[in-house]
Amino acid sequence: MEITNQDFSNLLQYIFMGIQRGSIYALAAMGFNIIYNSTGVINFAQGEFVVYGGLMMVSLTMTMNLPVPVAFFFTVLFVMLIGILMERLTINTVKSPTVLRLVIITIGVSIFLEGIAMVSWGKNSHVLRHFSSSETFEVFGAMILPQTLWIIGILVFIALGFILFFNYTMTGKCMRACSINRDAARLVGINDRKMVMISFALSAGIGAIAGIIITPIIQMDYGRGTMLAIKGFGAAVVGGLGNSVGAIFAGILIGIIEAFGAGYISSHYMDAIALFFMLIVLFVKPSGIFGSSEASKLKEF
């Protein structure tokens, strides 16, 4: 079989599409990891942070006509506030927390937030202006949106910030200490409850950014949270739960698999293919495909 130029451009097109969607799963996965590392709980409301990021950005830029950087800032702040409220009003108030109960609470929060989003923004999809031009440009025959570059750039930026935060700031180091051994951390005077709150704030903030940068491409509606959460969790598992560098690669991998599935198999089954891949990894190598199983037992950011 001969590979034509057209085939190559298509391939490239799918890869870009995959990276673009995958970046969002990577960010969602990082959000899962932060909360998982600090509480041992899988936060089912993670997808709602992404939805709220997208929808709030729509309101601030499209309705209130704020400039993009200002709106970006306030949207992230707003969603972080939701994260903090979620932790303070629900997780933090539970006196005898079991993981089962906490997980169900996050499910409750996710239904609640989804309901609020529907009441506030309605059921239809919302359009958001691209950050810069919405004109595609051509690379080896593949059509690429400037927004895709924004997405990749912001992902790289966040990943670097992430590494700096957890390795070089006091708060970041304290959070790592808590995740490795909470009792020992408490003994040396770290306020572990506060660390949990910060982890919710950070996780919500990262989710919000994911929502803001993807909405110009996919449009956002109130009901997208669950699917985003499943795929973000998929990325977290494939990357090794708790390991955020793994999560970034895994997110992009899932995005690419999804894009290939849509391009070469059937767009109807696009979501199913990505989920199927996640289930296969979950069953065959639950410690993730990046990093050894030994490493995944140690909680690292």
Partner: protein
């Protein structure tokens, strides 16, 4: 203590038998029929959630497997609904093993996400595999059940039949809980290490109970298909799985009776809310059925935060408190006289 469960079962049977006598309108009876499907699925789910301590967010998919197996095989090949119901159960068992064995080996809540992912996949397949499922248009003309010549084609007939199935399911679940296996399950919920140390194979028990609960859902799905005689992917999505879990948690996940209470109340809730629309209006609130999700979220959250043992737990501690007060007063009265 064991015997109390069976006395409750008798009372429950009597109460349910009276419901059709009180409801004049067939529409309300049909609401109760729908509630019976949720109730059956929730009884199974509560064994998993409350006794094995595992979350499934994919039980609506098992309901779907039951419904589509029955729907497809009866409409395509005119097989007997009883046989197709059985085949649905077998398929559900196979899928439950495939999903449950790997994810239940892991600690944490992998099962929750795995079942959520699996539920989402099946939903997508139900919509996309038009040749088999009929896609979004669904399957039509599914025959009603035929019970030894009695065709269950009215709401009232089906009410009696499906609630009888629920009562049998309830009986089975109560038997199980009050047996060696049930004690093993409760033990594993109390302390997995201690349960292991006395020889209970906890991972095998978790898998068995996951399969068991999937069977309940599958049967509920087959019944549903033969009742409405028309199915589409709508009711088998993720949201319904989450709703089933909500019913169990709201009713009280550590008691089978909690699942019964939760599924009945939350199945009737949308009816109640739309009934109260006029009432909301007097407060200036325009209530729409779309808000149901929000209401479910609020209910689930408040119960998990303030009443972790659910409504059943709330009722029984309130009952105990009243009993104690009565007892104390009784004693006082005696000693003062």
């Amino acid at each position: 203590m064991v015997i109390r469960d069976y006395i409750f079962l008798g009372i429950f049977l009597l109460v349910m038998a009276c419901v059709p006598l009180l409801l004049k309108n067939d529409y309300y009876i049909s609401i109760f029929v729908f509630a019976s499907f949720n109730c059956l699925a929730c009884i199974g789910l509560s064994l998993l959630l409350g006794y094995a301590g595992q979350i499934s967010l994919g039980h609506a998919a098992f309901i779907g497997i039951g419904a589509y197996t029955s729907g497809y095989l009866t409409t395509q090949f005119a097989w007997s609904p009883w046989i197709t119901m059985f085949i649905g159960v077998v398929i559900s068992i196979i899928i439950a093993i495939a999903v449950g064995v790997p994810s239940l080996k892991l600690r944490g809540h992998y099962l929750a996400m795995a079942t959520l992912g699996f539920g989402a996949i099946l939903y997508i397949v139900a919509v996309a595999a038009v040749d088999i499922t009929g896609g979004p248009a669904g399957l039509n003309n599914i025959p009603p059940l035929n019970l030894f010549g009695l065709i269950l084609d009215s709401d009232k007939k089906f009410f009696f039949f499906s609630w009888s199935v629920v009562v049998i399911g309830l009986l089975f679940a109560l038997n199980l809980i009050n047996s060696r296996v049930g004690r093993g399950l409760r033990a594993l919920h109390g302390s997995e290490d201690a349960a292991n140390s006395i020889g209970i194979n906890t991972s095998s028990y978790k898998i068995q109970i996951f399969i068991f609960s999937a069977v309940f859902s599958s049967i509920a799905g087959s019944l549903y298909a033969h009742y409405v005689t028309y199915i589409d992917p709508g009711p088998f999505g993720i949201m319904h799985s989450v709703l089933l879990m909500t019913m169990v948690a709201v009713g009280g996940m550590h008691k089978i009776w909690g699942a019964v209470i939760g599924s009945l109340l939350l199945s009737l809730l949308p009816e109640f809310l739309s009934f109260s629309t006029g009432y909301f209006k007097t407060f200036g609130i325009e209530y729409k059925p779309d808000y149901d999700t929000l209401v479910y979220g609020i209910i689930l959250l408040s119960i998990m935060l303030f009443l972790p043992e659910g409504l059943y737990g709330g009722f029984s501690s309130a009952f105990r408190a009243v009993k104690n007060i009565v007892k104390r007063n009784g004693k006082k009265a005696k000693s003062s006289s």
